[in-house]
């Protein structure tokens, strides 16, 4: 096991990348601490799988280095890196039995038969397939096959890291939860470094200690689930995480106040003069109905009851604003104003968060 360092990494699938936009993975420096469980979250096509394949050695990056501990493995192959990886779609060896499938990575490494048998039993118990060990893998259902793939990923104990590339896409929801729990248990038991790629925020937030959010080939934020919720470093994190995502409004910010389409909004801190596209962002959880002259005038479009709470969809000067109201809250007829909790408002300049003055300044972009 080892710490994994990505040093100045960048990758393009083109042989001669010209500009920034030719890179599937933009320049990236990152350290994956030994033994932590990470989720790599982002929309489809943002470079998550590229990054994963570079770490596992299936892909050689166009630029930069990959270090395991202090060793440069940029050009080392998968075998040398000793990494396990589980793919999005089930990969099983059809003509082998379930047991042989699980034993395959161990036998290829010349482990002794007794150890292989014990290990296969253990993993089979974990994925709930003890009774089908002697059955041919051909013809099993997609989620059974994916469980075998997961099992093959976990069967080796000495791996440097286990990488999961959206492994639960084809598994049904109830089983998803169970397997994720198993993965966490495995992580707690062996302390492998785990990197779990997903586009599902619930999956990411429940699985990982730390979540890495990627957007457009770039890591935009690394943090705990709370960090991502409270202080999204990038507008993408704001609206990608949360349901519905963060409300973003174009604004002019001066000192303690923001002006949104001529209306003043109080902020939780004081800001220096900003240039570029300035926006304020507030999560729907911190938007409430207002009375009298308070808040912003809006047109309420509809209210959706989603069980534990209600989502109010409104429109402010052409920009949608969502608010989350408690279950059973009544919206009075004629209600047409919404207000934001000032200390929950984040300010963004050109999509990156600006920290208020006089608080512990975390300069933008370096949070990555």
């Amino acid at each position: 096991m080892a710490r994994i360092t990505l040093d100045n990494l960048a990758h393009s699938y083109l042989p001669n990348p010209k500009g920034e936009e030719d890179f599937a993975l933009k320049q990236l420096d990152h350290v994956w601490n030994d033994g932590e469980a990470y989720a790599l979250l982002g929309a489809s096509g943002c470079g998550k799988s590229t990054l994963l394949n570079i770490i596992s050695g299936l892909l050689v990056p166009s630029r930069g280095r990959v270090l395991f501990g202090d060793r440069d493995v940029t050009r080392a192959d998968t075998v040398e890196r000793n990494i396990a990886q589980v793919f999005q779609f089930p990969v099983v060896y059809d003509t082998m039995t379930v047991g042989d499938n699980l034993a395959f990575p161990l036998r290829n490494r010349g482990m002794d038969a007794g150890f292989v048998a014990a290990q296969v039993q253990k993993i089979a118990r974990m994925i709930g397939m003890e009774d089908v060990l002697h059955r041919k893998a051909r013809g099993l259902t997609a989620d059974a096959k994916q469980k075998i793939s997961l099992g093959r990923g976990m069967v080796r104990e000495d791996v440097n890291a286990i990488l999961f590339d959206e492994p639960l896409t084809v598994i049904d929801p109830h089983m998803k939860w169970e397997l994720r729990t198993q993965l966490k248990a495995l992580h707690n038991e062996f302390g492998h470094t785990m990197i779990y790629v997903t586009h599902d925020q619930t999956e990411a937030l429940t699985f990982a200690d730390k979540v890495v959010v990627m957007h457009d080939g770039r890591v935009v934020q690394l943090g705990t689930p709370e960090d991502l919720f409270d202080t999204p470093e990038h507008t993408f994190v704001g609206y990608f995480i949360g349901s519905p995502g963060m409300n973003l409004l174009d604004a002019e910010v001066s000192g303690h106040m923001a002006h949104v389409a001529g209306h003043a909004v109080a902020l939780g801190g004081s800001y220096k003069a900003l240039t570029g596209r300035v926006q304020i962002g507030v999560r729907p959880e911190f938007v409430t109905l207002a009375e009298g002259d308070e808040g912003l005038p809006v047109t309420i479009r509809r209210i959706e009851d989603v069980g534990r709470h209600q989502i109010l969809r409104a429109d402010f000067a052409g920009t949608p604003i969502n608010a989350i109201l408690p279950e059973g809250a009544r919206v009075p007829a004629g209600a047409n104003r919404l207000k934001f909790q000032p200390e929950r408002i984040n300010v963004y300049a050109d999509d990156w968060r600006v920290a208020p003055l006089r608080s512990v300044a975390t300069p933008q972009k370096e949070a990555v």
Binding site: N53, S56, L58, D77, T78, V79, I83, A84, Q85, F87, Q88, F89, V91, Y93, D94, T95, M96, F104, P105, N108, R109, K136, R138, G139, S149, R152, G153
Partner: protein, 290 residues
Amino acid sequence: MDKVQNNKAWFLVLPVLVLVAFSAVIPLMTVVNYAVQDTFGNNVFFWHGLGWFEDVLTDSRVHGALGRQLMFSGIILAIQIPLGIAIALCMPKRGFWASVCLVLMALPLLIPWNVVGTIWQILGRTDIGLLGYVLSGLGIEWNYARNAVHAWVIVVVMDVWHWTSLVALLAYAGLQSIPQAYYQAAKIDQASRWKVFRYIELPKMQGVLLIAVLLRFMDSFMIYTEPFVVTGGGPGSATSFLSIDLVKMALGQFDLGPAAAFSLMYFLVILLVSWVFYTVMTNLDKQEGK
């Protein structure tokens, strides 16, 4: 509303019935008709029962042709299937050279049978053919018109040249359909090249390979034109395969009765083999559930 019963609709099926009758049923029945009758000419036929079938079944000439036929099909399958797979494995997966390879591979398939025969007939000659000239230049007494082994060699090599492409293209299509993730997973699992072939590529190609075997078996079992052009079935009857023998019997000797009985059994053998293949293939599909 009541369902309208109109039996006139049956007339709409008539064109198909007529077409199938004239293209398949009537010719086949004519053959059946010949197979159970005998004639001394003048279009006078009399009943002969299963006599011709008995004759054909006990005819050592037919036995010889059948033996040669099975050997020929066996040999070309044993060469073409592994060779085709090997070629498919060596072909580039994508890019300019993949297209070049595909076109080159398809070329032999586009050449008509009799032209293939003529090409090899000339190629194998020692006086004007490159192959024959080189072989005799190497000191080999090459003569496919007199030496039975040489005749077999040239017929087999010709068939391999003509049809291995088909197996290779089918296998190539099978290989192309394997998702990249399988190879990646195999790398992660540290599988050797042989294991990748044995546990990923071969099982994934199984379906197309069965089709390749079936096609090649049927085609080789019915082969006529190419050996006829190259060796004419000789020397002696060394390369007289079933269809060559059949044509000799039917048109050369005009033994309509035995030839008809012969061709019916020939037809049944092919039908039987195809059925066996079909059953094996569908059973393999079913096994997926076991």
